[in-house]
């Protein structure tokens, strides 16, 4: 009798452990988390526009008025510079690491002059940049990322159909390029 009870207790402890392990490691196992899907979408260092229909990686935009573009990056070697300019009623940027934790976010009201100009770098690269800041980065916002890989999401709003073109142009002309210091 006692042995059966012991077996049941051991079983319950095992159930709790299994429950915790599954919950905490679920995002890594599904392969469907946002970062994996973005990598499946295409190369790094390019803004990929999303549409209302799911693309081949399964990403889509649910909101009928928002236009979204995403760029995955790896700043291990050189920093990355995000730039976008255009006249849209609203734009916002969010930078996430590979586990989809937010590192940084901003929108057009918190920008310098209304344009998007952000440099993403590791702490070592940032120290080097700050020591001798190139002229082109005089107005840029420098963001430090603890891990070199992640992705950036830029969203813009097109409140009416007539704003669609400006919103698409804003995202299509946005650049997500390595910054080599020249």
């Amino acid at each position: 009798m006692l042995k059966i009870l012991l077996a049941i207790v051991v079983g319950l402890v095992g159930a709790v452990l299994l429950h915790l392990i599954i919950i905490l490691s679920l995002p890594h196992f599904t392969g469907l988390d946002a970062y994996t899907r973005i990598l499946a979408r295409g190369d790094l260092n390019r803004f990929h526009l999303l549409s209302a229909k799911p693309d081949k990686a399964g990403l889509s935009v649910a909101d009928p008025f928002m236009h979204v573009a995403v760029c995955s990056f790896d700043v291990d070697a050189v920093p990355l510079r995000l730039q976008a300019r255009g006249s849209v009623p609203f734009w916002s940027l969010a930078i996430f690491d590979s586990a989809s934790n937010e590192i940084f976010s901003m929108n057009d009201r918190t920008s310098v002059g209304g344009g998007l100009d952000v440099v993403i770098a590791t702490p070592i690269q940032l120290t080097a940049l700050r020591k001798a800041l190139p002229e082109q980065l005089a107005q840029s916002i420098l963001v430090e990322v603890p891990r070199p890989d992640g992705y950036a999401v830029v969203r813009t709003l097109a409140p009416r159909r007539s704003f669609d073109q400006a919103a698409q142009a804003f995202l299509q002309e946005a650049s997500c390029q390595d910054f080599t210091g020249r």
């Binding site: 042995k3 059966i4 012991l6 077996a7 049941i8 051991v10 079983g11 319950l12 402890v13 095992g14 159930a15 709790v16 452990l17 299994l18 429950h19 599954i22 919950i23 905490l24 679920l26 995002p27 599904t30 469907l32 988390d33 946002a34 899907r37 209302a52 799911p54 399964g58 990403l59 889509s60 935009v61 649910a62 909101d63 009928p64 008025f65 928002m66 979204v68 995403v70 009623p89 609203f90 916002s92 940027l93 969010a94 930078i95 996430f96 586990a99 989809s100 934790n101 937010e102 940084f104 976010s105 901003m106 929108n107 009201r109 918190t110 999401v153 969203r155 709003l157 409140p159 009416r160």
Partner: protein, 196 residues
């Protein structure tokens, strides 16, 4: 002779069975522990941070959309009306009130997964703060139903479809801070259920 293997089998089956069943149950309860409820609306303001509730991980684990940064504003969804009854297409649901405290907002109706309904492109797919028609005191009422209504109207597919309203506040000053409690969110109610 079979006692030991039987006991081990008992322990293992309880461990695996209990672990898997309880995990599935906990994940299917969509109101994660990090949710904030304001009337009929629920939002997850911390979903994108490292402090996110792991039970609410489905956005990271399997969803097809991105999380929102704190400068953008979390989308809040309403699946039930203010009285707690489920929102279904057989009724028409006016939602309205004072505008929420945000620079811009968008509102659309979708299925319970948050995906918008595929409606005729000639019909309004959603509303935002620029296109909504307001009263003289800048409050507004939006009617969500399968039949066209005057004023602000969001279409639904015919039939008794459960739907979810998603309100996305862009650039709200209280996003990501404890001040979210002060937000006045639109009231959602059910009116005129059944055919008439």
């Amino acid at each position: 002779m079979f006692r030991v293997p039987l006991l081990i089998a008992l322990a293992l089956s309880i461990a695996f069975g209990g672990g898997i069943v309880s995990t599935l149950y906990a994940l299917n309860v969509t109101t994660g522990f990090g949710a904030i409820r304001l009337g009929a609306w629920e939002a997850f303001p911390n979903a994108q941070t490292a402090a996110a509730d792991p039970y609410a991980n489905p956005p990271r684990a399997g969803a097809a959309t991105f999380l929102w940064g704190s400068a953008e504003g979390p989308p809040s969804g309403a699946s039930v009306d203010d009285a707690g009854g489920g929102l279904a297409g057989g009724c028409s649901s006016p939602a309205g009130g004072k505008p929420p405290l945000a620079r811009l907002w968008t509102l659309y109706a979708g299925n319970t997964g948050g995906q918008p309904f595929a409606v005729n492109p000639a019909l309004p797919a959603g509303l935002n703060s620029w296109t909504v028609v307001r009263e003289t005191d800048s409050s507004f009422t939006v009617t969500v139903s399968a039949r066209a209504q005057p004023g602000n109207w969001l279409p639904l597919p015919t039939g008794n479809v459960s739907f979810r309203l998603t309100l996305t506040l862009l650039d709200t000053p209280t996003a990501g801070s404890s001040g979210l409690i002060d937000l006045s969110m639109p009231k959602v109610s059910l009116l005129g259920c059944g055919d008439a």
